[in-house]
Amino acid sequence: MPEMAGLDEGTPLFVQVADRLAGEIADGGLAEGERVPSTNELAAFYRINPATAAKGINVLADDGLLEKRRGIGMFVATGARQRLLARRRAEFTQRYVAPLLSEAARLGIDTDELFDLIKDAGHEREGVSL
């Protein structure tokens, strides 16, 4: 079952496949110019219908993140990683900052206190990673 590979019930499968691949590209797991798994490989891995896998790939291809090399397969387009990261940056506020603020408001943490919390946690993280 695809749930075993982490796909869930909520969003259409092809969207999840596209998101997974986009995530891989953004994280650097799939480098620019590298071949992306084929429709059949994805279908077998996620245990889904090949047409669904193909749809997911097409989403990214239509977006210009993947390019087709005839006879060989789909490859990560140049600049794909940058574009994805830029997109995620743009979404960062809506996806992460807004929820953070609303949760903080719920708990009665004001902006200054929130600021301090972030600073401390951030420095700790950077300290650990050094």
Partner: protein, 304 residues
């Protein structure tokens, strides 16, 4: 492009009941479609008619462009794996040999490999096979035939979960290599849900749902939590079910959820659980696809 399977106004009446009532379906070639519904809903009758094993009372049936009954040009390009196949007094290997003569695309290497996967020996008498082994034989014939139209009627009786997964995997793998039109009837919906491109739900002889699987995933979400918050989110939207327990409520909301919706749910402490395909089918078969009555929780005084 003509659909691989098309059925119009199909009705099948028996003396004491109507098994199929005005069925209209079109299935495109090269897809895997799930045929879902309760026991006795009419799935088997539909498949038998598509395979030419039964005759319609009225309506038209076209498989690969022509009526299948008694039509060998169609039948040779079709394979039907029945739930209750009766075999003569022969061995497994002999059944496969006979099948190889009748199916032009037959692949005997695939057949042997499938028998191995399921642990069925070719020189065993079919009569002596266990229920699961018989199902494995049916599946082997169904897949190795590589028929343009492949019909499966709950082909997994007696197979444990591991063997069923082997079936799904082999089906997908061979389908990827040799695309064909597959119609798979099952009541183990969630296991097979990801295989389907299309889903058809039959209940009491009628089609109650016929949609792409993509559309159905995420079409309905269970929203549960404080009843006022539930109402705030679900108010004015189509809802399939409403439940109350004290100050908690749970509704099944229909329609996509925007990121704002999700944020609203998160901040008001609501739990969002998408309905699985199986749950959606259960709702469809129970005839609950119509919106639930309009009452909102606000009118109930105990909702604090």
């Amino acid at each position: 492009m003509t659909p691989a399977i098309s059925v119009a106004g199909l009705t099948r009446r028996y003396r004491d009941h109507t098994a199929l009532d005005d069925i209209n379906i079109a299935i495109s070639g090269g897809t895997i479609t799930g045929l879902l519904g309760r026991n006795g809903a009419g799935k088997t009758t539909l498949l038998r008619i598509l395979a030419g094993h039964e005759f319609p009372s009225s309506g038209s049936v076209r498989v690969l462009g022509a009526p299948p009954a008694e039509n060998e040009d169609v039948l040779r390009r079709l394979v039907f794996v029945r739930e209750d196949q009766a075999y003569p007094d022969i061995k497994v290997g002999q059944a496969l040999r006979a099948a190889s003569w009748f199916h032009p695309n037959w692949d005997s290497t695939l057949a042997s490999s499938l028998l191995d996967d399921f642990g069925v020996r070719a020189n065993k008498a079919v009569k002596k096979l266990s229920r699961g082994q018989r199902s494995a034989l049916g599946i082997t014939i169904g897949l190795a035939a590589r028929a343009e139209v492949t019909l499966f009627d709950e082909p997994y009786a007696g197979l444990d979960a591991v063997a069923r997964q082997v079936f799904y995997d082999r089906l997908l793998a061979d389908f990827a290599e040799f695309p064909r039109t597959v119609l798979l009837s099952t009541h183990l919906i969630d296991e097979a849900a990801a295989l389907f491109e299309g889903v058809i739900v039959i209940d009491r002889g009628r089609v109650v749902l016929d949609a792409p699987a993509d559309v159905l995933r995420g079409v309905a979400t269970r929203v549960s939590g404080p009843c006022l918050a539930v109402d705030a989110l679900a108010g004015g939207r189509p809802v399939w079910e409403r439940r109350r327990l004290g100050s908690q409520a749970s509704v099944v909301m229909v329609g996509p959820l925007s990121p704002d919706d999700r944020e609203q749910a998160r901040s008001s402490g609501l739990d969002l659980t998408p309905l699985s395909l199986q749950q959606i089918v259960v709702q469809a078969a129970a005839g609950v696809l119509a919106p639930a009555p309009e009452t909102s929780f606000e009118t109930e005084r105990t909702c604090a």
